[in-house]
């Protein structure tokens, strides 16, 4: 006959066995969970290394391009070109913004826009200088700026004054658009 003691211990053992028998499945599930976490950690680590290596790009990026928010109007846009700093002359009274385009590299928008200007409503911006030499030096210095994009250039001479002119199509200032690109 079963005594209460044996019965009690038996029930306790059955209870314990129920826990212990469920262990393999629990352990298997938890091992799977751990392995997935290890994989995720590995992926994150790789991503972080790559990301950290590329992070200085952001600093260069911000130092190179002014924020679009700083170019509130045409006056700010004109000033941002700093033509006079390079000995060039562009008539501010006839300068107008002609277009705005976002820049994408291999189909990815990189978070900059081109604000393009032209003279007298045309796509072409007329840039003057007192001499061919000064014009060449000025245009060269302007073209070396990473935040300036110049399109087709035609050097010629003014029919009346004989001054050298460079007509630049798509003369654009490249500006940062943080809000659209998303903070990274």
């Amino acid at each position: 006959m079963l005594t209460n003691k044996v019965l009690s211990i038996g029930l306790g053992a059955a209870f314990a066995a129920a826990f212990l028998l469920s262990l393999p499945k629990t352990v298997e599930a938890m091992s799977g969970l751990k392995n997935r976490q290890i994989t995720a950690n590995h992926a994150l680590e790789e991503w972080r290394e790559a990301y950290q290596a590329l992070l200085p790009v952001n600093t260069v990026w911000e130092n190179t391009f002014v924020s679009a928010s700083q170019i509130a109007d045409l006056v700010h846009l004109y000033r941002a070109f700093r033509f006079d700093q390079y000995g060039l002359f562009v008539d501010p009274d006839t300068t107008m913004q002609t277009s705005t385009e976002s820049v994408s590299v291999n189909g990815v928008e990189v978070g900059v826009r081109k604000l393009c200007v032209g003279s007298a409503g045309a796509q072409v911006l007329a840039v003057h200088a007192p001499s061919v030499g000064e014009l060449r030096v000025g245009i060269k210095a302007l073209s070396e700026r990473n935040d300036i994009s110049l399109g087709q250039m035609t050097m010629q001479f003014d029919a009346q004054t004989g001054r050298p002119i460079v007509n630049i199509s798509d003369a654009c200032l490249v500006v940062r658009v943080d809000a659209e690109s998303g903070e990274i």
Partner: protein
């Protein structure tokens, strides 16, 4: 320890108010190893308070045939003992423990004197065979040589190879065949030195076997804690990896939430920044074309244009329409004085294109030509005007 075998003796102890340790036996206790006997006794009257049965074998926890010792306490004694502060044990428990501790088959003889040492003794005889209680005998007899031999004769005859352990408080019997038996052992106080503490039930019904919840719960908890321990171990591993993840992602949560886009964006930005400014390339080419054209003898440069297209740039940077010069990369518009000795503008243009190619390093083709009159120092001079195109 006081050995008490009668209600009168117990009453004396209680009335004296002495809180001594007492061992109950004799008339106060009914002892048997027969389950039927104790069952009949329990159901017939209220003379006894049944005690919880005692396991009466050793090393047989899981044997099907279990041996138990059943004890009944006199109800009157139980009433008297209610509230008694001294320690209470049963003599039967002492002898049972002693008998089970013996390695050889034995007859343990003990008892008490209900009415004083010189009166009839209540003798309790337990027979142990193979580490289990086999029989129990309760007898009354004076402890004299003749009476002792009579008392034990049938038992000794039935178990001739069993040692006979004569225990206190029974006085040692006088010299007789029993005491001279080589199997006779004077156990003295051996059975009563170590007190066997068992619960003494003083009320009816208390003898019923407990539920033994504690062993059951302990067994269950062992399994549960083993489960928790192992699961906890694995969980700690997962937590460790999660903590590692938290450490790695700290400060990068937002960027990693859009990880692919973040990296792609940075890579494309890096690429975009690394590109030589196309504008400076175009200006450099304009310089080359200007310098090359200026070396043509007596040339008059009307205009020189270059596109901004950079054929070296493998990546596609889209920002509006591509520059075009009628399909070419540049356009040179120059005039030179007409020289009829060369056979006309058309014939003069070919060597001019070759000369420009040599001077600039670019592929230059003649695209068209016209004639024009140019005023130089008041003189009208005929010029041939050429348009050259080409590619870098």
């Amino acid at each position: 320890m006081e050995f008490i075998g009668s209600v009168e003796h117990l009453t004396d102890i209680i009335e004296d108010g002495v809180q001594v340790d007492i061992a109950l036996g004799g008339d106060l206790v009914f002892v048997t190893n027969e389950k039927d006997a104790i069952a009949r006794l329990g159901s017939d009257d209220d003379a006894y308070v049944m005690q919880q049965r005692r396991m009466a074998s050793r090393g047989r926890v899981f044997d099907k045939e279990k041996v138990f010792l059943y004890i009944g306490l006199d109800s009157e004694a139980a009433t008297l003992l209610d509230g008694y502060k001294g320690r209470i044990v049963f003599q039967a428990d002492q002898y049972l423990a002693y008998g089970l501790s013996l390695k050889s088959n034995s007859i343990v003889v003990g008892g008490s004197y209900p009415s004083g040492v010189n009166n009839d003794a209540s003798v309790l005889v337990m027979v142990f065979t193979d580490n289990a209680l086999q029989s129990v005998y309760e007898r009354k007899s004076p402890i004299t040589g003749y009476h002792c031999e009579l008392l034990m004769a049938d038992i000794v005859t039935r178990y001739p190879d069993h040692q006979i352990h004569w225990c206190a408080p029974l006085e040692l019997p006088p010299m007789s065949d029993l005491t001279t038996n080589p199997l006779f052992v004077d156990a003295g106080q051996s059975a009563t030195t170590v007190r066997v503490n068992r619960k003494v039930s003083l009320k009816k019904g208390a003898e019923k076997e407990g539920l033994y919840l504690v062993p059951g719960i302990v067994t269950a908890l062992v399994g549960f804690f083993a489960y928790v321990g192992i699961v906890g171990f694995y969980w700690a591993g997962i937590e460790s990896e999660r903590n590692q993840y938290a450490r790695l992602i700290a400060g990068y949560e937002e960027a990693y939430a859009n990880s692919r886009h973040s990296l792609d964006l940075l890579r494309h930005r890096e690429y975009y920044l690394r590109q030589t400014a196309e504008s400076s390339v175009a200006v450099a080419r304009l310089e080359v074309l200007l310098a090359g054209s200026a070396q043509i003898d007596r040339v008059m440069i009307n205009s020189i244009g270059v596109s901004a297209r950079n054929s070296d740039n493998e990546s596609e940077i889209m920002s509006g329409e591509a520059d075009e010069f009628n399909g070419g990369d540049f356009l040179i518009d120059v005039s030179i004085p007409a020289d009829s000795s060369q056979g006309g503008a058309r014939f003069a243009g070919e060597p001019l294109a070759k000369r420009l190619s040599a001077l600039t390093g670019y592929s230059v083709q003649l695209m068209g030509h016209t004639e024009e009159m140019v005023t130089d120092r008041g003189q009208q001079i005929k010029y041939w005007r050429y348009r050259f195109g080409g590619g870098f």
